[in-house]
Structure formats: structure tokens, C-alpha cells
Amino acid sequence: MRTIFRPARLLLNLSVLLMAFFILGPILWLAAHAFVSGWQYPHLYPSGFTFTWWSKVFMDSALKTAIKNSLILSPIVVLLSMVICLPAAYAAGRMNYWGRKVFMIGIFSANSFPKIGLFAAIATLYYTLNLMGTFVGVLIIQLLGTIIYMTWIPAAAFASVPRNLEEAARDAGASKFRVFRTITLRMAMPGILVAIVMSFLASFDEAQGSYLVGAPAIYTMPTEMYSLVQNYPIQVAAVFSILLALPSVLLLGLARKHIMGGQLADGFQLK
């Protein structure tokens, strides 16, 4: 089985190449546009290279405001989400209380209502509460998208901490709080980290709801992209895309090991 004969190996390498082309092609193609003066069909090479698009983005006050809004909003959303959801995740992972399953499925089904329909429906409530076009309004919209990650993934992480380790520590005389801090929390940390990364991405990338509720008063980076692709040359959108993708790429480096190690997948199996 381990020795693959030649045609199979060729097929394999070919499929890796195709996959690389399919996944990376569009990103690299767009990214390259950030550094070119023009690039038109049917030329395979651009007409010249330039950095002017970068200064254009950093000079544009609307784009700068969008960057600032995004960088302020997302950390607040993640922190709020942690405060609201992590205790519930702990309860769902460790206590077998009545209503636990209803809670988990309720959170899940709230997530399966089409987002765009929810945002249309939420307008009524937002007008009543005077949240339309406000910072708090956008904050709540983004918060809603993080709840499923911040409850389900940490719940699975808390559930998988072995009880006998905690009991051993208690027997050795550690206080309840110390056991929680040094054993339970530490062992659940990879799951919590993955939840934080996923929540940050969910908030930072949220576009539809933030646009419907925030525009035209508040623009974030993704909502700015909607108008950007219509009103600016493609190169400006390319520069903005690179900036918008930077935090995600940094987070990828941080959490790649745990996400690929199954923390994300474990989080979505109902137990």
C-alpha cells in the first residue's frame, strides 16, 4: 500500500497542483493587482509596477475610518462574546443540567436562519430601539455571529478535560479555584483559543449585517469593500484586500495547529 506505482503518483502530484491552482490562484491574482499600474486582457503580464495604490488607500479618509472601526469593533466583540458565552460553555460542557441539549440546539438553530433574512427582520427591532446606524447596533450584529463558536467549541473543550486529574489535584489539597485555573482552564485553553480566533474572524469579516445596520453612518472594512469594488479601480480593492486579510493570516499562524488538530471539528459534535 505504501509503495504507489508511477501513474498513481503522477495523478497525485497533478491533483495537488490543481488544488493549489484552485485555492491560491484567485488570491494571488488579486494580491498581485495591488502592485501594478494596469493589467488588461489579453495580456498575461501587467503593463507596469507601482506602489501608488497603497498611498491612495492610506490617504483616503473614508477607508482609514473603516480600518479604524474594524480594529476597534472586533476586539470588543470578542471580549464581550467571551464574557457572555464562556460561563455557558463551561456549564454545557461540565454540568448535565436539564435543558442543556435544548440550549445547544437552540443556539445552533438560531444560526441556521438565513443571515440576510434575519438582518431584514431585525430592522424593525432596531428602529424601535434606536440602534440603526449606531456603533452598538453593529456590535450586537457581529456579536450574534460569534455565539455559536464561543459556546460550542469551548463546551467540547471543557467536556474533554479528564475528571480524575482534577480529583487528584483536589486530593492533594489544591483549592477549587486553583484546580479550575491550573487544570480545567489550562487543558481547555486550545479549544478556547480556537473559539477566540473563529469569533474574531466572524466579527472582522462580517459584512452583510454590518452593512444593512451600519451603512451609511458606520463602515467597517468588509462593508467598505462593497462600495470599493464598485467605485474604485481594482487595484485599490486589491490593496484593501491585503490589509483586510492581514489579521486573519496572523491568526492562522497562531491557531493553525489546534484548528487542524481537531479542536474545531470536535466543537461541532453534539454530546
Partner: protein, 313 residues
């Protein structure tokens, strides 16, 4: 194997503890529950009453602003807005396209996920880990960027067209077609499906596969009788999440799809904003929700079944 056995034991001990009333448990789960109830449950409920023609109370303002509003004529409301939508030929086209794209993309995503995960499970090679790593990259690209990148790549000035032009071949512009939506949907859905399925496959003990091999079972049999059945739950979870995500998608069909017919996510937004017909817009949202709920039930059923099989319930 040792880890597997200890895991079973742990699950066994969990099965003994029955669910019991706990004030603390309920209290701790209250904050996210309240948030969801107020900002998801309540708007959906109010929206549902509005779609049935309840135009008073919280729906007063939207009824004044919106056009072609139907007011209830029975105590329970009216189906007039629903009938509007179902008699709109544009909606039927949209529904067809939405279902077509959802089914095709989900099937392709799961097939790709299965192929890569099975390969990674049977042969631990460099190519396998490169494939998985590649497939996970889209998870970290904001969907607005993915949609726009795919738009430029397959578009009129895109790489594919420019590349084939070098050989005198005029490659078709894929942007603004259903194919582009399928490409975009696969691109954005692949990471989650791969993570789910490959994690399920990795959990299958080596001993089972080795035993089958020793008995002379061909690879196809190992795949069909061991790998896929044992990873059934993660596969169903991956499929239902993928389908629900694509069913309600907005940005991908907005950037990549044709103007008419378009996917329902875009049409909901069009009806709400551009056409100012909020009632019909919400009706479509509930139709999508109904389809998504059907898929969600499959997901919950599969989860509960697998929990029962392993003795957790």
C-alpha cells in the same frame, strides 16, 4: 487503542449521570440564550407575524414605509404575501437556482472532502498534508475578499482568459454565471468540510484497517465498509453545515452570480432594499429557513443517533 479504550470508559461513566435540574447550569447559560432570544428569536417572530399580515404594533413603521403590504383578513392573518411570492416567476427561477447551486456545491464539497480525507487516512504522505493545508486556507480569507478574488480570476480580464489567449483560445468569462457561484461556494465551504471529515477519519483506529487488510480486503472495501460508515456522523455534520451555509449565502452570489435569476439570499436583500417590498422579502427568508430547518433536523438526528450508539445517552 489504549486511548480509545479509556475514552469509552469515560463516556460510559458519563452515561451513568442522568440530566438533573441545576439552577447554576441554567443561570450560566442564560446570557447567550437571552441575547439570542432578543436579537434572533424576537425579530424572527415579529417578522413572521408581519409576513402573515400583522401590520400593527412593532410592524407599524415598516408597514407605512414598505410597498405592496397585505393586511390580515382573518384572525390568524393572511397568506397573500406568500401567494405573491409563489406566483412571481422570478422567485421560482431564484428558488430553482438556489436549490441547484446548494445541492451541486454540497455534493462536490463532500466528494472532495472525502477523497482528500480518505487519502490522508490511508497513506500518510507529504502530498496528503499539503492537500489538507491548501484546502483549509479559505477559512482565513474574509468572504468579501474571496468573492472578489474569484470574480477577478475568472472574469473578463481574469487570469484564465488571459492565459488561454496566449494560445489563441478564447476562454469563456465565468463571472455572472451559475458556475461561478458553484466555484465560489466550493471555495468557501471546503475548509470546514475537510476539517470535519478528516477529523472523523483520523479517529478510526489503525487496528480496524490493518485487520481488514490482513484478511485481504481491497481498498475499495476498506473505504466503503470501514472508513465511510465509521465517519458517518462527521460527514453528515459537514454536509448539513455546508448546505445551510450555501442556502443562505449572500456575498458569493452577489459578486459572482447572474443578475437574473439570482440566489435567494441576494433576492431577499433586493426585495427588502431596492424594491421596498419587505413583506415578500421576509416570506422568502422563511422559505429558506424552512429548507435550512429540514437540513438542521438531519444534523441533530445524526448527532443524537451517534450519541446513542456510543452509549452516551
Amino acid at each position: 487503542m489504549i486511548s480509545l479504550r479509556s475514552k469509552n470508559k469515560e463516556e460510559g461513566s458519563r452515561a451513568v449521570t442522568r440530566a438533573r435540574p441545576s439552577f447554576l447550569g441554567l443561570a450560566l447559560s442564560l446570557p447567550p440564550l437571552l441575547l439570542v432570544l432578543i436579537f434572533v428569536g424576537l425579530p424572527i417572530f415579529i417578522g413572521f407575524t408581519f409576513s402573515l399580515g400583522f401590520t400593527k404594533g412593532p410592524n407599524r413603521i415598516i408597514s407605512i414605509i414598505g410597498q405592496q403590504i397585505h393586511v390580515k383578513n382573518h384572525w390568524w392573518g393572511t397568506f397573500a404575501a406568500y401567494s405573491d411570492v409563489f406566483h412571481d416567476s422570478r422567485f421560482l427561477g431564484d428558488l430553482g437556482l438556489t436549490l441547484f447551486v446548494t445541492v451541486l456545491s454540497t455534493v462536490l464539497v463532500i466528494l472532495m472532502g472525502l477523497a482528500i480525507s480518505i487519502y490522508q487516512r490511508l497513506i500518510r504522505s507529504k502530498q496528503a498534508s499539503v492537500l489538507v493545508t491548501l484546502a483549509i486556507i479559505p477559512l482565513f480569507v474574509p468572504v468579501v475578499i474571496s468573492a472578489w478574488a474569484i470574480h477577478t480570476f475568472y472574469g473578463g480580464d481574469g487570469f484564465l482568459r488571459s492565459f488561454f489567449a496566449q494560445f489563441g483560445i478564447s476562454f469563456p468569462t465565468l463571472t455572472s454565471t451559475a458556475s461561478a457561484i458553484v466555484i465560489g461556494s466550493i471555495w468557501t465551504s471546503l475548509p470546514f468540510a475537510i476539517l470535519m471529515i478528516s477529523s472523523g477519519m483520523q479517529g478510526i483506529p489503525d487496528a480496524l484497517i490493518d485487520a481488514a487488510k490482513d484478511c485481504g480486503a481491497p481498498v475499495a472495501r476498506i473505504i466503503g465498509h470501514i472508513l465511510i460508515p465509521l465517519a458517518k456522523t462527521p460527514i453528515i455534520i459537514a454536509a448539513s453545515f455546508t448546505a445551510i451555509g450555501i442556502l443562505g449565502s449572500f456575498t458569493i452570489p452577489l459578486f459572482l452570480g447572474p443578475n437574473q435569476p439570482t440566489m435567494l439570499g441576494v433576492e431577499i436583500s433586493n426585495f427588502f432594499g431596492s424594491y421596498n417590498r419587505p413583506q415578500q422579502s421576509l416570506v422568502m427568508a422563511f422559505i429558506v429557513f424552512l429548507a435550512a430547518s429540514g437540513i438542521a433536523i438531519l444534523y441533530v438526528w445524526s448527532n443524537i443517533k451517534s450519541a446513542k450508539e456510543s452509549g452516551r445517552i
